[in-house]
Symmetry: D2
Subunit: 427 residues, 4 copies
């Protein structure tokens, strides 16, 4: 993990930190310092990881729900709060949102239209919206192995992925921002990290570590708990084995994109059944005649797969789900496979020329997939080394139980999915 | 039942029967004599009905599977057989098929492009294809209460609706043609049917009843067994309650169309869930958040509804099925309702302006259904009076069991649907 | 329908009606007048029937929930209310309940230990308990075709079969008692019913029709709505085809018993799978390898069949459900059959000597059923003639909608079964 | 791993190996040398492990199917083959089988009635029967962490766990016996293993390693592939938290027993629903009202859990399944949990005194479990160190694909479970 030295005398940078007069500018996120990659510490008592910032996060991406005017006000409140209380933090928005919002702020905000910039710059993402907003945020990092941690606020009804109520935003942000500051951070105490000195020296005027943050610390043991959600890797290939480039996504090194929930092949508005040959680990499994097929992560097991009859899989069961959508069969039961199983869905010749829809995390990803094309899926490999690689780190809310190690999953089953909701008249 | 007196000196008519030279004409089905409506007799031992022609059928509609060149040859063979063996029979085809086929025949064939003509002229329909072909044939009569009996031949694999193998066509056609001829027919013996005399008199040269048919009779007790399949009545209405005219269908008196399998509302290629308010018998039942909803006949219970988790309902259980497609709910179980229950599916305001797909028997029926629109469904009322009204009369094949009263349903479950197919290694 | 002339000078009778001093006796129900069989009138607007007493009901059977001490108090209150307000009504209890309760009453109560007495004497049954209590009440008439109407009060949580809350008992009983009194009853106005005169003459002092009932009438249009629930006919036969007599039930004429919910074959506490050959309409359908098999009425579709994955069938869909319990198969889907389909479940030789459990409506009915034995099931035939024959007439509560014709089914799905209960956080 | 030095001049030992005259004795397995624990080597290309014997296996346990006389003959053939071709191998049987079989053999066989002996002595288990036989074999080691590898032969129909056809027994046994002999074995080449010399020296006359085995070697790369199946740990506790001793099993160190398929709580032949409180990771999840509850391994996902609607989980997905049996709920979906999740099933007070059945791998394990009792379940921890600890090592058959690394799972889904068996008429 390298914190890139800041460009000396960067105008952009200076403006954003030193100017006191109102600025309603939109700046290029490219000019921001390189991102800080946190560490994730395992614990004895919990399957959740403990978030450890080596130095305070600076570049915060804020994603808001689409077409939801009521979220705008909350977003303004949230952004202003961050700006006033965390001087050295820059706020990044998606272009459309930046354009729409910047007049609300007395300070510059950042944006970018390049798919490469966000993975390089964003320390942490916050979302204001529902599960769809989180999926969208995650999709912005669908080609990188180091997804920044996501702190998500639900607006209106709670989602299954979203964790925090908007009313909690001050405490929530503080907690994540400070996470690891005192307990584990090498930043304040560890002289072996020369890049910290360098940074201080170079910028001259910005603060060291968390000391400038107003207000009281969260205490040494308060580190944010992170659920690392496994993703899928998806590649689409034509009948000749050439990779079909997704239409709206920068591709990763190998060209695959990652999904947080699932990838789906579906007949779309073709009235007829789709016919899909399914291969598992290179072996032909079956010819699926169905509305479509879902390959899902455990996270996605409570999304489309659930509606299609799949079991509910805890997000920490390392696995892939294969769930058919309305299969024309009495005997097509959902399968759960080891996450390292390569799965291929190939459009059978029998579809006679028509195209199917491929969508990832609820978004259509192609102009249609024709006969002979293949969707190749694999679980993302998560490596635990010094830095964790892979997965989407989601900041969890402390459960109502007061138990810090509660991953909230059981609560979500009951509270949100109405799991095994009791019969009877309880009006 | 009135057999319309034939127009004296009809050119068309004359040509088709008297000409001996090769004719490769396509004539207008409008010129054919009015259809003959059969009777259906109940029996003590069976739930199947016994087909009784008052006089021999004359106007035979032949429907073939779309885009299936291999069926063409069989169709030619079949048509030639009918023409050579049943002089007074005229063959009607859909316009496209007629255009494509007529050069194969030395005799004139009939067609029509008017939706009203077929219900007025067709005595009996034969299909060469699969279940989709039968559904299509049935759709040609979707606005009439007197669907002519359907004799269906499967080409290739047997379908669940299709009954006869093509290899059996000679015997099958003979059996249906003769059904009721000797045992029950008033035609030959009953002088109280003046229209028969009239007809004979007018045409001068054509035969009386079945006497001209070459070959031996099927015996007095051989009448064809008919399964009367209940249909659905479907109307689509806009937010103001005005009927939305289907785009490719003549509407019936009240504007409703009939479905043999089901009517479906589906999100189509919209990536997001559809939201549909469901009313039963005028009462609000539930808000369905799902890929879609199916309202199905018992016949359709082995089609899309089965894929969506519905139970299998015997076609003679008078009922409607309501089966959700991928509902975002753990507790949406398929329902089976009395067939006289009015069901309304209304597109909720929450769909925010987007359109859903409505399809009937596997065909899209509208340009999309928008917010506030309603699909209103009811079971077709079947009246048993002197003439049966309603339903699709399907000519059943005698079961292998040799039991004439076997409706073949149990055989189909096992042979086609692989119902409760045993586990184990039976290679 | 014959109201049996009362035995002149019957001691029993006299005591129960003329005595003014406190009587804590238990009398023999055999001494009561023969039952009155109501008529059920169909309506245009509803699928519910309208209950019409030809003369006021006199013999009321009261069934209470087993082992539920809290019900006792309510029962005392209820019984006293009936006794005080409806002089000519006699209360019948099951022997155990009678023994336990009679000291609470200042008036005689009736009981019987003969299975034949209840069907001959009971005009109407009231239950205090849950669905199990109603099933038990119905089982007391499992061999008769004229089940008296059941008015059921739920104690504690509402059941799916039970309709009325106990708090409503005064109004509810009045309504049923008076049902048809003014509007349709021939009793008051029709001089053609000599047995009424006879009765009055014989008993000398008791009232004519409903005139003696204190309090206001319910109005001419207030007749109780009755849902006639179809039953199953069940016979158990040994390997030689001999009927196996149920161990605790008088058998009907043909020896069959009736079930309101379902008949079940189950492995019980045998650890191994049961193997059952299934025949439909005399044809072999399949070999079920499973925990067991359920043959259910539509009423029972919301009971065990639902737990086993069956669809929900409206009670007025005339049908039988066949739902396997944990079948060792991927392709055993529940079936819905016409109610007149004979179904046979035969214990396969492969069970190697062990016995399975047969239970009807939640009660074990045999000492175990061994290899070769058959359970033969058929839907009960309901005849509509002058008197309805067959079915269990259940008095329905007026829906909250205020709609008299609402059969309450939709309300029950939502309120009790939590049908399609919405996802999300609605605390 | 220590190969215990053999007792010099052990009579038992001498007899079994040196005697040439016919011996029809049953000897005490206690007298056999201590077992040899194999190593399992991971591979790059496969998720299967490679079996590596440090020295040839000597003590072979043979388990045969219960009450299956036709298996007896095969067993005799198999045992004689082993005895003739593998001199230094001793055959161990269960007491009943030993008693029944020993007269067939000209050589002594071994048995034991002590539960501790088998885990201490058995190098390898072979089963002749079906899945139930394998489950039973596994149950003999339900309290040990080092289950010997199981080589299973199916008699009659193939099971899902059983791998080899009996006809293959010579090749199969040879392969397992030799596994690792040349390629990886330290035995023949590695002088650092002094116990080998010791052994040779001590016994004087027996062979070194595999050299004495007649016939050709399987080649250096031919090592048996082993699927290590995860087990469950199960403990049953009374209302006071005291462990309830299983009635027919020696308990392991901590008293838990292991299950290969599943543990089940079931109502047995109680006619009423069971009520079970379910806790996950110490948190209350739900009150299950059902026939019962299944906690299953991935291996067991194709057994009872499948019949109850569970998904199919690949045996290598480290997880626990929780599948309800006929839950009285519309919203109780099967769950898949991380294998280290502690699950507790507690019998609710609401069961009012009755007892439920607990069974493990298809065997009832207790006299019934009463109110307040708990079944506590956890996934077995598998440790990979120098020696693998935990799991049931099952010797896999080379797939027909010729691919050595094929775990046969896909083949089993299609061939045995008839997964997604195609519709249609394929007679
Ligand atoms: N996921 C699914 O199961 C889907 C099913 N369908 C069904 O397809 C029907 C239209 O048929 P096609 O035009 O041939 O479309 P298609 O080419 O999509 O094939 C539908 C399949 O369903 C079979 N089928 C049709 N009606 C049946 C019935 N009543 N019972 C048993 N099998 C039946 C046909 O033989 C064929 O195998 C629709 O009415 C709908 O029920 C349509 C789309 C998706
Ligand atoms: N029939 C179905 O169930 C369908 C489901 N979807 C799901 O919607 C997702 C996209 O979400 P939106 O853009 O919000 O689309 P959307 O507006 O169609 O809503 C999808 C719903 O699923 C919920 N959801 C999303 N991910 C979830 C998860 N992992 N666990 C539990 N609930 C989850 C959302 O909160 C929302 O209620 C897709 O990834 C797909 O899983 C999409 C189409 C149909
Ligand atoms: N309704 C059901 O499905 C029931 C299933 N069982 C299962 O039976 C097992 C005991 O087996 P048996 O003693 O042979 O009893 P059994 O004689 O009742 O037969 C159970 C069947 O399950 C098969 N089976 C066992 N384990 C399997 C696995 N892991 N994957 C696929 N198939 C498997 C066997 O081959 C046999 O066909 C139990 O562990 C339980 O899983 C037991 C009772 C009821
Ligand atoms: N796994 C299951 O779902 C089981 C269900 N049962 C059902 O229980 C019935 C006997 O009832 P109880 O004596 O009270 O036994 P019980 O004490 O086991 O309770 C059965 C439950 O089913 C409900 N119920 C009964 N009939 C119903 C119906 N027609 N629709 C909806 N809910 C209904 C009752 O209210 C009660 O909650 C049997 O006829 C059988 O259907 C019996 C055993 C197991």
């Amino acid at each position: 993990m390298i914190v890139r030295a800041l460009p000396r005398a960067s105008n952009v940078w200076k403006r954003s930190f030193s100017s006191t007069s109102a600025r309603r500018e939109i700046l290029d996120a490219e000019s921001l310092p390189h991102r800080i990659i946190p560490r994730y510490q395992e614990s004895q008592t919990s399957d959740l990881l403990s978030l450890q910032w080596p130095s305070p996060p600076r570049n915060i991406l804020i994603i808001k729900k689409d077409r939801a005017p009521q979220v705008t006000e909350s977003l303004v409140e949230f952004a202003k709060h961050i700006h006033s209380n965390y001087d050295n933090v820059s706020l990044i928005f998606e272009p459309k949102v930046a354009a729409q919002m910047h007049r609300h702020f007395q300070f510059p905000i950042y944006t970018t239209s390049s798919h490469d910039t966000l993975p390089a710059k964003v320390d942490m993402t916050t979302t204001l919206g529902g599960d769809g907003t989180i999926l969208h945020a995650s999709s912005l990092f669908s080609t990188t192995l180091h997804v920044p941690p996501i702190l998500s606020f639900s607006m209106g009804t709670l989602g299954f992925l979203g964790e925090w109520k908007f009313g909690e935003y001050k405490r929530a942000f503080r907690e994540v921002y400070m996470s690891g500051a005192e307990a584990g951070s090498p930043f304040l105490h560890d002289q072996k990290h020369p890049h910290i000195q360098t940074e201080t020296a170079e910028t001259g005027d910005i603060v060291t570590g968390w000391s400038s943050v107003r207000g009281k610390s969260m205490g040494p043991t308060r580190s944010s708990k992170v659920l690392l959600r496994n993703r899928l890797k998806v590649g689409v290939f034509d009948a000749n084995g050439n990779r079909v480039i997704g239409d709206n996504t920068a591709e990763s090194a190998d060209g695959d994109v990652h999904a947080m929930n699932e990838v789906i092949i579906h007949r779309g508005n073709e009235a007829h059944l789709a016919i899909i040959d399914v291969f598992i680990g290179g072996r032909f499994l079956t010819e699926a005649v169905a509305d479509g097929m879902i390959i899902s992560t455990p996270t996605g097991s409570t999304a489309y797969s659930l509606s299609s009859g799949g079991s509910i899989i805890h997000p920490l069961v390392s696995s892939l789900l294969m769930t058919p959508i309305c299969p024309r069969s009495l005997s097509f039961r959902p399968l759960v496979l080891p996450s390292n199983t390569p799965i291929t869905l190939r459009l059978s010749e029998k579809n006679r020329g028509r195209e199917l829809e491929v969508s990832i995390d609820g978004r259509r990803r192609s102009r249609g997939v024709g006969v002979g094309m293949e969707v190749r899926v694999n679980g993302e490999h998560i490596a635990k080394g010094q830095e964790w690689i892979g997965g989407v780190p989601c900041v969890m809310r402390h459960a109502k139980t007061g138990n810090e190690d509660d991953d909230g999953w059981v609560g979500g089953l009951n509270g949100l999915l109405k799991f095994n909701f009791p019969f009877g008249d309880h009006e």
